[in-house]
Amino acid sequence: MAISTRQVEHLADLAHLDITEAEMEKYAEEISAILDYFTQLQELDTAAIEPLAQVFDLQNVTREDKSSKSGNRNRILAEAPELADKQIKVPPVFEK
């Protein structure tokens, strides 16, 4: 199963990763090799098998939907790269 540089470019866009042309070729080659390794799974007939997402029988763990104070608002805000009046500032969505 080979993946093209065009597909890698698309994946990088989807994942918000900016990659160069040279990297696209490198990743296409490496990811293709990994996908090749996956083809062994076709030996297994899994048509009737329920997918497993949880390794033991734990289901729908819920808690009361109640707000509480975390007590570390200032510490959290202090981590933001840019603040404006206690709000996190980001670059404009559209160029000016």
Binding site: I3, Q7, V8, L11, A12, L14, A15, H16, L17, D18, I19, Y27, E30, I31, A33, I34, L35, Y37, F38, Q40, L41, L44, T46, I49, E50, P51, L52, A53, Q54, V55, F56, L58, V61, R63, S70, N72, R75, I76, A78, E79, A80, P81, E82, I88, V90, P91, P92, V93, F94, E95
Partner: protein, 475 residues
């Protein structure tokens, strides 16, 4: 006797008897750290002042003849993807190079409350993605047995810190073998509890259906002590369950009557012959000590590596979406928001992380999701069923921890798929959520080799019985 070489239980006895003070113990660790760090690079951040402050408190308590907890005054290292409030947490990545943790991980809270002393944050593969310690933005960690070789990964720094006696113990994380495989390469004990045993609150999520907090220690008893200290239900991690965790007082190292399964699929072609020989000798010793050796088959276990490299990157691609330069960490200069995201992630993430994010994005994308992600989850069930069936006949399973001894720095770095094979024996415990431990079995050409035990879900007791019994035979 150098204090930093002690185990937890030895150090505790020494503190209780008044042979030395907690500050002496902490000082012995830092002296070794300052002597060896230039060469080993096991730590990213040291918290020396806070450590001595905490040690002073323990000494004050000892001077007034108050009783101390087992872990009180015992120094430890924390893998850098586990949060310690007020201390930098980079996870080995550039994208978090400026990030200071705003709260404590539950495991850190528990260990601190019991009086254990944090020495610093240990080096690791970036976001725990790597099997050699080489993907860290902060430079590779070296194997103390041979500094031209890798220590394994991803808990590279935690493992090396223990192996080089820079600390008494360390905590790490294990998503596909990240405490056991380096433990095998460096000659220490690495233990991954059952999925659901230990809270991951404050552990940076990599692949949430596999991630578990683990520990690196100098012997099996220490691993059990740390396990008891950190296990338990936590409302901040809904996968944790309420279960009895008293292990130490029930450890029974007598191997007579223990049924130990040897899966034929774990002795594969391409495995180092001398490693295989050593593991087989260990199995013989266990047999001589009275254990019943049972040949078993886990027919679908050979697919564990393939499905792991589908499911794990899928979860990685979702979990790492949060690193976008908005709320914390590195932010790139850019004219608009989308460009900021793209540039931040380009500058902040290393090669292996980007590769896994793209692979994960691919296996989840429309048109491929059924062929990869769903197939992976179906095979995951088959592998779990293989183990369920095996555990009807045996109490635990023994296998090599890794197919080789520690390889040379750079040897596999350029070939991701070959690197992934280093985890071929450890991954299935995460795929099935089982508890697993690696203990030193001896050396091949001077390099450590580990053997791995796996047991039923939540049956850490049997796992520790087997490991303690085997450890006694191997010493």
């Amino acid at each position: 006797m150098k204090l930093n070489t002690l185990t937890i239980h030895e150090a505790h006895e020494g503190l209780k008897r008044g042979d030395f003070a907690a500050t002496d113990l902490t000082r012995a660790c830092f002296e070794t750290i300052h002597e060896k760090e230039k060469e080993l690079n096991a730590f990213i951040t040291l918290t020396e002042d806070a450590a001595f402050e905490a040690a002073e408190k323990v000494d004050k308590k000892l001077r007034s003849d108050k009783k101390i907890n087992l872990l009180e005054g015992i120094p430890f290292g924390v893998k850098d993807n586990i949060l310690v409030q007020g201390v930098k947490a980079t996870a080995g990545s550039k994208i978090l190079s400026t990030y200071v943790a705003t709260y404590n991980a539950t495991v850190v809270d528990k260990l601190k409350k019991q009086g254990a002393i944090i020495l610093g944050k240990t080096n690791m593969d970036e976001f725990a993605m790597g099997s050699s310690g080489e993907t860290s933005f902060y430079g590779p960690t070296k194997n103390p047995v041979d500094i031209d070789r890798v220590p394994g990964g991803s808990s590279s720094g935690s493992t090396v810190a223990v192996a080089a006696n820079e600390t008494i113990f360390a905590i790490g994380s294990d998503t596909g073998g990240s405490v056991r495989q380096p433990a095998s390469f460096c000659g220490v004990v690495g233990f991954k509890p059952t999925y659901g045993r230990v809270s991951r609150h404050g552990l940076m999520a990599m692949a949430s259906s596999f991630d578990q907090v683990g520990m690196l220690t100098k012997d099996v008893l220490d691993a059990a002590h740390v396990f008891e200290a950190i296990a338990g239900q936590d409302k901040m991690d809904s996968t944790t369950v309420k279960k009895k965790t008293a292990i130490v007082k029930n450890i029974k190292s007598d191997l007579r009557g223990l049924r130990v399964g040897v899966p034929k699929e774990y002795f594969i072609k391409g495995m180092d012959e001398d490693v295989e020989k050593l593991v087989r000798q260990t199995i013989e010793k266990i047999k001589s000590a009275g254990a019943t050796i049972v040949d078993i088959s886990l027919p679908r276990a050979k697919y564990a590596l393939a499905i792991y490299y589908i499911l794990m990157p899928a979860e990685v691609s979702a979990n790492l979406a949060r690193f976008d330069g908005v709320r914390y960490g590195h932010r790139a200069e850019a004219g608009n928001l989308l460009e900021m995201y793209m540039k931040t992630r380009r500058e902040g993430f290393g090669d292996e992380v980007r590769r896994r994010i793209m692979l994960g994005t691919y296996v989840l994308s429309s048109g491929y999701c059924d062929a990869y992600y769903k197939k992976g989850q179906q095979v995951r069930r088959l592998i779990k069923e293989d183990f369920d069936r095996a555990f009807e006949k045996v109490d635990c399973v023994i296998s090599p921890t890794a197919p080789t001894t520690a390889f040379r720095l750079g040897e596999k770095f350029g070939d991701p798929l070959t690197m992934y094979l280093a985890d071929v024996f450890t991954i299935s415990a995460n795929v099935a959520g089982l508890p697993a431990i690696s203990i030193p079995a001896g050396t091949v050409n001077g390099l450590p080799v580990g053997v791995q035990f796996m047991a039923r879900h939540f049956d850490e007791q049997t796992l520790f019985n087997a490991a303690a019994g085997a450890e006694a035979l191997l010493q």
